[in-house]
Point group: C7
Chain length 98, copies 7
């Protein structure tokens, strides 16, 4: 966590605030990279300040001993505290493991 | 955690808030995927802001050295801080390990 | 943790709140499953908001290299922050390891 | 942590609150079981809300590669955040490893 | 965390506050070294008090069993809680692994 | 952490509060046992509520693959969050590894 | 963390508060020992209550499989939450690994 100097974080218009970036993803695809080897791609329906996320039409990718395991789930609530990276727009084709 | 820009999280009606999603699951089946290899399926009777959950008619699935161990419990209180994913409606048949 | 939408967590009467469930266990048997391999069964005498618990007439079960180790303790204070699951009524006979 | 429903935790007289249990141990023997393999027995002189404890006439038991290591210390301050279980009255004779 | 003595942290003009240093990186290259073996280089578009960061034109470097894996991503939101070191100006040429 | 019942922690004069114990060590020797295998002995010059400690004339003992490594440091600031036990008066002769 | 008894931490003039010690290091060399095997030496330009630190002219020392790896960086922001020990004045010559 950072202890902000007042002026810095009052919201410099040129900044793109993290919460704004996620807000723009509502109702569109998002690629969620978790700490560890799990990834998910789904449509974002909502989120809260803890980055808990309501996702629909979800594909979960997990590297296991028998190779890549893909699980489909209709609607899920994902706990935000293990998320490492969010990529608006979903996973680029080139990155989608066969 | 996110530092929200005021407007973003005041509650955009099109958002499905995580707490709303769980609230809709009261008195119906829910599939709880924990961090690590444990999963539970049960009927949700209540929860709090820490996502501690009161579950009834619970099946607990755990991968152990001797294969999958299934334990039935009538009523439990599940500590919320190790939950990874919640899936309303319970575990789809295809996913239920034999 | 969840950021609740006001209405959701104001207390819907049909909910069974986690704290209510534990409160009903006062002076009766409870089965405590910890994170890791430890379990305890005892009579609940009191608890606080951190789920620290005063237990009496306690059996502690721990899987060790030499098999199951069972330790009896009269009265204990159990630190709440490693509890995974609470089961009101204690451990069903079938589950009690010989 | 639990989100208490007002009535529950206002202090039901029949409850034995965790802090009361420790308070009763002041100036008497207490057995402290830590997370991991360390245990201590000593006389409790004081504690705070973080369960940091002032102990006197302390025996510390630790399982090491060369067997059980016992260290005597006159007065110590024990950091509360690694305590698993507190047992008022100290360690029963049967449990004291030779 | 530190408990500051009032005068110390009121902002001694000669100090360069951490939040000021990041603020100066807005719209320029930054090298992010994570705890563990992951590194990223990208253009900083915004951040919040939890050091969650909006990065654009991102290269992610990760040491894997098959050697160095480099992934390009257009825009990402990086969770701040696993960041170890931030280096304004990006990664010096000499340091860029081939 | 404990949720105190008002009367308990208002400060019973017979208690020796943890902060009082450390305060009495100012300007005298203290033995600091860390979580893991590190220990330090030094003169305590100051501390804060997070038990960050200013120590002078410090010997740091660490068990390494090549045996015990002893490092002398004049003045240090020790981060409080990895401290397991504090022993006023320093390390008794018998305990000082050769 | 400690629950202070009012008088103890109001600031006894003979105490050297941790934040004062760091404040005195502004614009001079400091040796930062991290949890794990990483160490840094640099000139301190600023810090905040989370001990995030702005360092300049930095040498980072890390023990790796191929021996000691030394990396030079001009200006960095170091996340405070993995710092174990701070040593004002930098690393004594005898301690500087060749």
């Amino acid at each position: 966590m950072l202890a902000p100097k007042k002026a810095t974080l009052q919201g410099n218009p040129s900044h793109v605030m993290p919460s704004e970036l996620i807000d723009k993803c509502i109702n569109s695809k998002i690629w969620v990279i978790m700490k560890g080897d799990k990834e998910l791609v789904g449509t974002l329906r909502g989120f809260d300040v803890f980055v808990n996320m309501v996702l629909e039409d979800v594909e979960e990718y997990e590297e296991g001993p028998e190779g890549l395991r893909v699980t489909h789930m209709d609607t899920i609530l994902l706990n935000g505290n293990n998320i490492a990276v969010l990529v608006p727009g979903g996973k680029p084709e080139a990155e989608v493991e066969q």
